[in-house]
């Protein structure tokens, strides 16, 4: 049994706080992520394998209790699931897409996922992200790819308010530091 090391394992100190907390910040350590590239007849086959139709509108998501497909491009999705479930998902998708050109790639380890929640989560992101995340514009079925400060992120709204920020593993430490700094004026609490 080897030791798994999440991108922020040497950075996150649960319980750390820098003020009366308006924000809770969590390192989700590992989130199952499968990059799916497919088009044409493969779209329906992929939908059957997933149990729901792939979202075709730009910057939207679809999903069920097991996984959530996030639109990344006209023929590209990131399927998000619990860590450990990605192998099964890849197997199902690969089997369903046997005759359709596709790329089903495990990218679980390529990104860290930071969860930011609390009343001030949106104002904190607004300090480094040009997108409008107002719920009227960025509802529960939306996803966005943009920059937060100088890190590329995929932003996924979560139930009950807040966001999951998917960031390339090597940038995770930078984004973490940036969020702690940006959140300082509202008070940020690091959760384990």
């Amino acid at each position: 049994m080897t030791v798994e090391c999440a991108p922020l394992d040497n950075v996150v100190r649960p319980g750390e706080t820098n003020g009366p907390s308006g924000i809770a910040l969590t390192d989700r350590r590992f989130v199952g992520q499968v990059n799916l590239r497919v088009r044409g007849s493969g779209l329906t086959a992929a939908g059957h394998a997933l149990g729901y139709a792939l979202p075709m509108a730009a910057n939207t998501t679809a999903g069920d209790a097991t996984s959530r497909a996030c639109w990344l491009g006209p023929d590209e999705w990131l399927i998000v699931c619990d860590d450990g479930k990605q192998a099964e998902l890849i197997q199902q998708l690969s089997a369903a897409l046997a005759i359709d050109p596709n790329a089903v790639t495990d990218v679980t380890d390529a990104r860290a996922v930071l969860r930011i929640a609390g009343a001030c989560a949106r104002p904190v992101l607004a300090k480094g992200c040009t997108l409008d995340l107002h719920p009227r514009v960025f509802g529960a079925d939306r996803v966005a790819q943009s920059l937060i400060a100088r890190a590329q992120v995929m932003i996924l709204p979560i139930e009950g308010g807040g966001y999951d920020l998917f960031v390339a593993r090597s940038f995770a430490g930078y984004l973490w530091d940036w969020l702690l700094d940006a959140g300082a004026e509202y008070g940020i609490r690091v959760e384990g």
Binding site: V3, C5, N35, D109, G128, C129, D132, R169, S170, D177
Partner: protein
């Protein structure tokens, strides 16, 4: 010290909360709600600065951002802020302010000799005087910069935080006066997301001064009510202390918010730059009063009438005890009446107009005020404070009468604040009735309400705001909410405006107080041929200072109009550009300081390197271990040790930063064939090959090893620096040109951690950890295997960048650290040594392997590198056509060669230029340069790679390298492979 000029009652200051402050070292007291300017005036301080050029004494002149004189330095030490307008500095307990541009003191300033010499200091003085000697300007500039100008920049790092925020609004309303409040309410009631920004501490604008009522109640009560309603609306954001600085394309508006000052310690943040994207912008920025040109119009105690009125009504401060109001319009009488009602004695109203039949002059006369119709001010008395004015009939300027006073309130009419409209591309139109510019054709996403549109009556401001706010919300997609009913009766003023200049008796007549530009300067500019308004502006510096013509613009245009004999609209106007008001560097920088300036990308093994005491170097945004020096060991010694280990024993290198692209689909092979210049079709699954990538221009662009994982599945590696660019480039070809190819790319750079085990003992270290057969026969050079390493799923590539036996082990990133630790543990008996990028470079240079960016610079072809044999003659690929261009081959091209210094101990500097002969006549013909150079511990000598003209024809020749501040070094041209040219070591 007592506040002698504080009125007994009135004002919106909190008399229960006294605040102490220092100005030029003297202690004073003001009240909460004061600005520094109002508190200074309450203490009778008028002299606050020395002017820019002539060092003339100057006093507080305005009320807000339009202030041209009262620039002070606030704070001490690192917290110093130069050039703060006293009129915009919110008073806080313990505030420290100092005057600027004076020596030794404000009252006795030696620089004031400039004023005595002023006949010599006309417009264009510098251009005319400092022409010679050539080169003298450096000295002149130093002297001029000491004598002229404004405050000093702090010399210590700014200790304060500055924040940035983006915001989005359906309707952005700029200005919270009557028009802005009505607009925000109308848009907010419609349900729109509204942002209301205002630079003042309190909302209300002119409503805080006005004696008139709204819906039958005092205006401030309506302001409080409107504000409370706005604050209840969930999608309305109201920002006080926030100034809109600039409008850019597509409704993008930059604003700066100032923090609420604190008396002790530091504010959480000092300023916040808001970058707002608005669907609609309602500009309700009001108007700025203008002055009148007259002799000696800069004496301290002279100020804009609107400022004198606001100091009395809003701050409860008498700017003087005996005032003269100088007017060319009816609004000035409101000032006269308000001053009189507040308890300031009004000695006279001097009006340039003859016919004063309007209601307001009538009210003034009824109030018993002395009104001098058809009179102008032609002079005054007092140096550091006005003591009296001289008034005379405009038709008979020599018939003077002296009126004693200590305050001169000047009202030359109002200029709509059209700066934001101009930023948005609006072209203002001249309204001769108002003697002012008003909005012309509409600007993008922008409407203009109230006084900013030249509509000065309160009822018009409120009606404009309500209408334009509702319309803006409708355009943003919201239907109107409950209507706003606002009734605000006030006396109708006579709209006729008099001239903006008083008759002259030869005194100094300032047009631009900030830059010390006089009427005579502008006339001289015209005489000397600067007839265009933009030329006259730059020649005289009129309107070019930090105040950007806020008070002097129209005055100067009138002077030019007269001098040129053209009406004002024909003279034109100068262009307002952002920012509306000076902005601090801190606000622009925000938190992009220190470690947050650039992200530092870290590999999965980074923490191990840090703990091992690695010396890091930045490679793009990555930080990579350059070497692992032991205590007391130099970089050079550490790299030598690491190279020897990787040659003689075994070394371990973190190669995680390599770019990795997964390519999958039936078109994958064709794609690879097109992007590499060498053959890949013959590559069998399970094998890997070095690929050379050219740009469309035929020049080497990137390189790396690509493995065939399956018939339609490849794993491409790129250089660390080229990873993102190569991925985007190939994706671009696929999406725009090669739509026929069924192939998908996925970036997996970050998915895989890579540890490279290198050296003759590599097999012994890896063997015990893996189920893969590592024998040279079962796992040959340039192939790959999947298996397990220390229990982890792994892809192992048998490639080598050192020439020795080498395994590149890829595991999912979460296992990277564990893999590294397992390899170190397994290698311990074999003396395994981690090595960094410095050793990597030495190892590859010993073998003559190129690094894209060292041996190539975008102008180097495969043939230049001696790699022409790789280039396929059978297939088409990117860059192929360019390779047959003339000049891409043949004599005269630079070739990659090796250099061996005659003195083995000598290590050439990279970039050193190469000559054919030890000394050459100038211009020195340079035949090439050193691209890589190291001390080779293996060869025990300096080795270098170089690009040299016709280099392959020079084998065995001696070339010469003149070193900067050193000797000229002789070196022999050799083949660029120094070690193991037959490749005997790669199997271990």
């Amino acid at each position: 010290m007592s506040q002698d000029f504080r009125l007994a009652q009135g004002g919106r200051i909190d008399r229960e909360k006294p605040l102490r402050f220092l100005f030029d070292g003297h202690a004073y007291e003001g009240f909460a709600g004061d600005t520094l300017a109002s508190a200074m005036l309450a203490n009778g301080i008028h002299l606050v600065s020395r002017s820019f050029k002539y060092h003339r004494p100057r006093g507080i002149y305005g009320l807000g951002v339009e202030e041209p004189n009262a620039l002070v330095e606030t704070g001490i030490g690192a917290g110093i802020e130069p050039n703060a307008r006293a009129t915009t500095v919110e008073l806080a307990d313990g505030l420290i302010a100092n005057s600027q541009n004076r020596w030794p003191s404000l009252r006795f300033d030696l620089g004031a000799v400039a004023d005595l010499a002023s006949p010599l200091l006309s417009a264009g003085f510098y251009y005319k005087t400092f022409m010679s000697p050539a080169g003298g300007w450096k000295i002149y500039e130093w002297l001029i910069r000491r004598a002229a100008g404004v405050g000093h920049a702090p010399e210590l790092p700014d200790p304060d935080r500055y924040e940035h925020s983006y915001a989005h609004a359906d309707v952005l309303v700029v200005g919270a006066g009557p028009a802005g409040l009505a607009a925000a309410l109308a848009a907010g009631r419609a349900g729109a997301r509204v942002m209301l920004v205002d630079d003042q501490v309190e909302p209300g604008g002119q409503l805080l001064n006005t004696p008139y009522a709204i819906n039958g109640r005092p205006a401030p009560e309506w302001v409080a009510e409107a504000t409370a309603e706005l604050d209840r609306l969930p999608d309305v954001r109201r920002l006080a202390r926030t100034l809109a600085l600039g409008v850019y394309d597509h409704g993008y508006v930059a604003c700066v918010e100032r923090a609420i000052p604190v008396s002790q310690g530091r504010v959480r943040w000092r300023e916040r730059l808001w970058r707002v994207r608005a669907k609609e912008i309602v500009v309700a920025t009001g108007a700025i009063e203008r002055a009148i040109i007259f002799d000696g119009n800069d004496r301290p105690g002279t100020m804009l009438a609107s400022a004198a009125r606001a100091y009395a009504v809003r701050y409860g401060v008498a700017a003087g005890q005996r005032a003269v109001v100088f007017a060319n319009n009816d609004d000035a009488y409101r000032t006269a009446l308000d001053l009189a009602n507040a308890g300031v004695e009004v000695a006279a109203v001097v009006d340039l107009r003859h016919d004063l039949s309007g209601a307001l002059p009538g009210m003034a006369r009824e109030r018993g005020l002395r009104v001098l119709a058809g009179h102008g001010i032609v002079g005054g008395r007092g140096r550091t404070r006005i003591k009296a004015v001289e008034a005379a009939p405009v038709d008979d300027p020599s018939n003077r009468q002296v009126i004693e006073c200590d305050l001169l309130a000047v009202s030359g009419g109002w200029n709509p604040a059209l700066h934001l409209y101009a930023h948005a591309g609006g072209k203002a139109a001249y309204d001769s009735g108002l003697a002012a510019f008003v909005p012309g054709a509409p600007a993008e996403r922008m409407t203009i309400a109230g006084a900013a549109a030249g509509r000065f009556q309160l009822a018009d401001c409120l009606a404009d705001g309500a209408r334009l706010g509702a319309e803006a919300a409708r355009r943003a997609g919201f239907s109107a909410g409950p209507a706003l009913v606002l009734d605000a009766p006030e006396p109708e003023p006579d709209s006729r405006i008099g001239p903006v200049a008083s008759p002259s008796r030869g005194g100094k007549r300032f047009v631009d107080l900030h830059n010390d530009v006089t009427e005579a300067d502008l006339r001289l500019a015209v005489t000397e041929g600067y007839r265009s308004v933009e030329h006259a502006k730059r020649y005289t510096t009129w309107g070019m200072g930090p105040d950007q013509g806020k008070t002097g613009n129209i005055l100067g245009l009138n002077v030019l109009s007269d001098a040129l004999g053209q009406p004002v609209p024909q003279v034109g106007t100068t262009t307002f550009r952002p920012p509306y008001h000076p902005v601090s560097f801190g606000a622009l920088a925000g938190r992009e300081t220190g470690d947050l300036v650039v992200p530092t990308r870290k590999t999965p093994m980074d923490s191990w390197h840090a703990e091992a005491g690695a010396l890091f170097e930045p490679v793009g945004q990555w930080r990579r271990a350059k070497a692992y020096p032991k205590p007391g060991e130099s970089l050079h010694a550490a790299a030598d040790r690491e190279v020897r280990a990787a040659r003689e024993g075994v070394g371990l290198f973190d190669a995680s930063t390599l770019g990795k692209i997964d390519m999958s689909g039936p078109g994958a092979e064709t794609l690879i064939e097109r992007v590499y210049c060498n053959n890949f079709a013959s590559l069998k699954p399970g094998h890997a090959r070095y690929g050379l990538m050219l740009g469309e221009d035929g020049m080497v662009k990137d390189d790396g090893v690509t493995a065939r994982l399956g018939p339609d599945h490849f794993h491409m590696t790129t250089t660390t620096g080229g990873a993102a660019g190569v991925y985007v480039w190939i994706e671009d070809w696929l999406q725009t040109e090669w739509l026929d190819l069924e192939v998908f790319l996925t970036s997996v750079t970050e998915q895989w951690a890579v540890a490279t085990l290198s050296g003759p003992k590599a097999r012994q270290v890896l063997g015990p950890l893996t189920d893969v057969d590592l024998s040279a026969a079962a796992f040959p050079f340039m192939s790959f295997r999947e298996g397990r390493v220390a229990g982890m799923p792994a892809r192992i590539f048998r490639v080598s960048f050192s020439g020795d036996l080498s395994y590149e082990i890829n595991v999912p990133a979460r296992h990277g650290l564990a893999l590294w630790q397992a390899l170190m543990e397994s290698g311990r008996p074999h003396g395994i040594t981690p090595y960094g990028t410095e050793a990597l470079h030495i190892l590859r240079a010993e073998k003559g392997y190129i690094v894209v960016g060292h041996e190539t610079d975008g102008t180097i072809t495969p043939a230049d590198l001696g790699m022409e044999a790789m280039v396929s003659k059978k297939k088409d690929f990117l860059g192929r056509r360019s390779l047959v261009r003339s000049g891409m081959s043949g004599p005269g091209r630079k070739h990659l060669v090796g250099l061996m210094t005659k003195d083995p101990a000598r290590v050439l500097p990279m970039g050193a230029q190469i000559l054919e002969r030890p000394s050459e006549a100038r211009p020195v013909p340079m035949i090439g340069h050193v691209t890589s150079s190291y001390h080779s511990p293996t060869m025990k000598r300096g080795i270098a790679m170089a690009l040299v003209k016709n280099g392959r024809a020079r084998m065995g020749d001696t070339v010469y390298l003149p070193l900067l501040d050193g000797p000229t070094v002789a070196a022999e041209v050799v083949k660029p492979v120094f070690y193991d040219p037959e490749g005997a070591r790669r199997d271990g």
